[in-house]
């Protein structure tokens, strides 16, 4: 009971600053704009400079009208030039264009600066630190723990762990993800870290090659993702054994090696990370690959707003009215953020599959693993495979019956 009380208390304490900050950031109601004739005031300008919200209805709703509502402009058509430009900016003008898509009707798009600031600021900063931090943590872990060895040495007897088709699908997925990760990083970071040192021409060439590879190899990644999902989903359903695995930290810390079937809980985490994060990256990637054709975010945000999710964190409802360009900005950010997360997971996966664990790479190299390795890391799977090998073939059993 006390524990629950403390949890509720902690939640209140943690959310209070967020709510207070939100209240501070909220636009003030009822600003007196008589001094500026209804236009923006010094207070609006100061708030904007401090990255605080302003109530811009004085601007967004001031788009003129017809001759009856604005009689003084009647002979001129009911709207001044300034009214027209405001209507264009806020997507309220009645536009007719000869282009074949909605994008062409957005003549003024001022929603891109926040995206650019995040893309070249926090995204690069935190994404970069996530990758470097993951590598640093693994390096420290390796220095402290060393390689996970097979206790008692290898037996010399091997057992087939992955069939050819499984390994091929794995390497299709792995190879394409590494290429996509590298070309994605070049696209994001080239202007900052390559152009100043190697020149814009070199950077431009790298970007063109990166874009070409990224757009086309993406399909190999998606096919590999579907193949791996279909082949391994049944082995990755969580079960009670996973709790035992977690209790012993997978045998990586200490010397107790918990029993496991074909995939242990750690591998299941990697599997579901790849499936869920990789699936999300694929969706946002398709949205980017076919610009403006597959908008994802306005609808998603509407669903999240209906669920009340932003309110849980004391935030305003998410935007549900956005131009096609803003949809693409959200898609790009989401694509990159989730990709950084998956890259961190995969770096850890590569570590444990090569340097971190003796005998692990054999499973994906030629599919054969030593029985001592299998006994140490996947004891139940080893027993099941041995029992299956000893059992008479199905045709023999049918004939005997």
């Amino acid at each position: 009971m006390l524990r629950h009380l403390m949890a509720v208390l902690a939640m209140i304490l943690l959310t209070t600053p967020a709510i207070a900050q939100e209240a501070e950031n909220a636009p003030p109601a009822g600003i007196d704009r008589s001094a500026t004739g209804g236009a923006q005031t010094l207070e609006d300008i100061l708030r904007r400079q401090q990255n605080q919200k302003i109530d811009d209805r004085f601007r967004s709703q001031n788009i003129g009208g017809d001759a009856s509502t604005v009689p003084e402009l009647g002979p001129l058509g009911g709207a001044s030039d300034a009214d027209l430009w405001r209507a264009l900016r806020y997507g309220k003008a009645d536009i007719t264009t000869s282009t074949r898509n909605e994008t062409g009707k957005v003549l003024v798009q001022d929603g891109g600066m926040w995206w650019l600031e995040i893309r070249r600021g926090p995204l690069v900063k935190y994404g970069g630190w996530l990758l470097l931090g993951t590598i640093a943590v693994l390096a420290v872990f390796y220095l402290l723990r060393g390689r996970v060895r097979v206790e008692g040495g290898m037996s010399g007897r091997t057992i087939t762990r992955f069939r050819f088709i499984e390994r091929m699908a794995h390497w299709l997925l792995a190879g394409s993800f590494i290429l996509l990760g590298l070309t994605g990083l070049l696209s994001l970071l080239g202007r900052m870290f390559i152009a100043p040192y190697l020149g814009r021409e070199v950077n431009a060439t790298l970007l063109q090659a990166s874009k070409f590879i990224h757009n086309n190899v993406a399909w190999a990644f998606m096919i590999g993702l579907v193949a791996v999902f279909l082949m391994w989903i049944w082995h990755n359903i969580p079960n009670r054994l996973d709790l035992v695995w977690f209790r012993h930290a997978g045998g990586i810390i200490g010397n107790t090696h918990p029993p496991a079937k074909k995939f242990n809980a750690g591998q299941k985490i990697v599997f579901w990370s790849v499936v869920l994060l990789g699936g999300s990256i694929s969706l946002s990637g398709l949205s980017l690959l076919f610009p403006f054709e597959l908008p994802l975010f306005a609808k998603t945000f509407a669903i999240l707003n209906d669920l009340g999710l932003p309110g849980w964190f004391g935030a305003d409802p998410l935007p549900v009215q956005m131009s096609p360009q803003e949809e693409m900005q959200y898609a790009q950010l989401w694509h990159a953020i989730v990709a950084f997360g998956l890259m961190a997971v995969i770096i850890a996966h590569i570590y444990i599959g090569t340097l971190g664990m003796e005998g692990a790479f054999d499973a994906m190299k030629d599919g054969e693993v030593d029985e001592a390795w299998a006994h140490q890391h996947h004891s139940i799977w080893l027993e099941e495979e041995k029992a299956r090998a000893k059992a008479p073939p199905k045709s023999a059993r049918t004939a005997a019956e």
Binding site: M168, H170, N215, N216, V217, I223
Partner: protein, 45 residues
């Protein structure tokens, strides 16, 4: 080791196949969002 090579060859094959199909389908933004009335380049004199 053969599976690694097969996976990488499949990746290259799928990538080239995607390029050929998408190029044939005219998927690029330039082809989708422009027409004869959009003059992207100076006409040859």
């Amino acid at each position: 080791m053969n599976a690694i090579l097969a996976g990488l060859v499949a990746m290259i094959g799928i990538g080239i196949g995607a390029w050929l199909i998408l190029d044939e389908a005219g998927f690029s933004s330039q082809e989708v969002y422009s027409g004869p009335n959009v003059r992207l380049e100076q006409p040859a004199d």
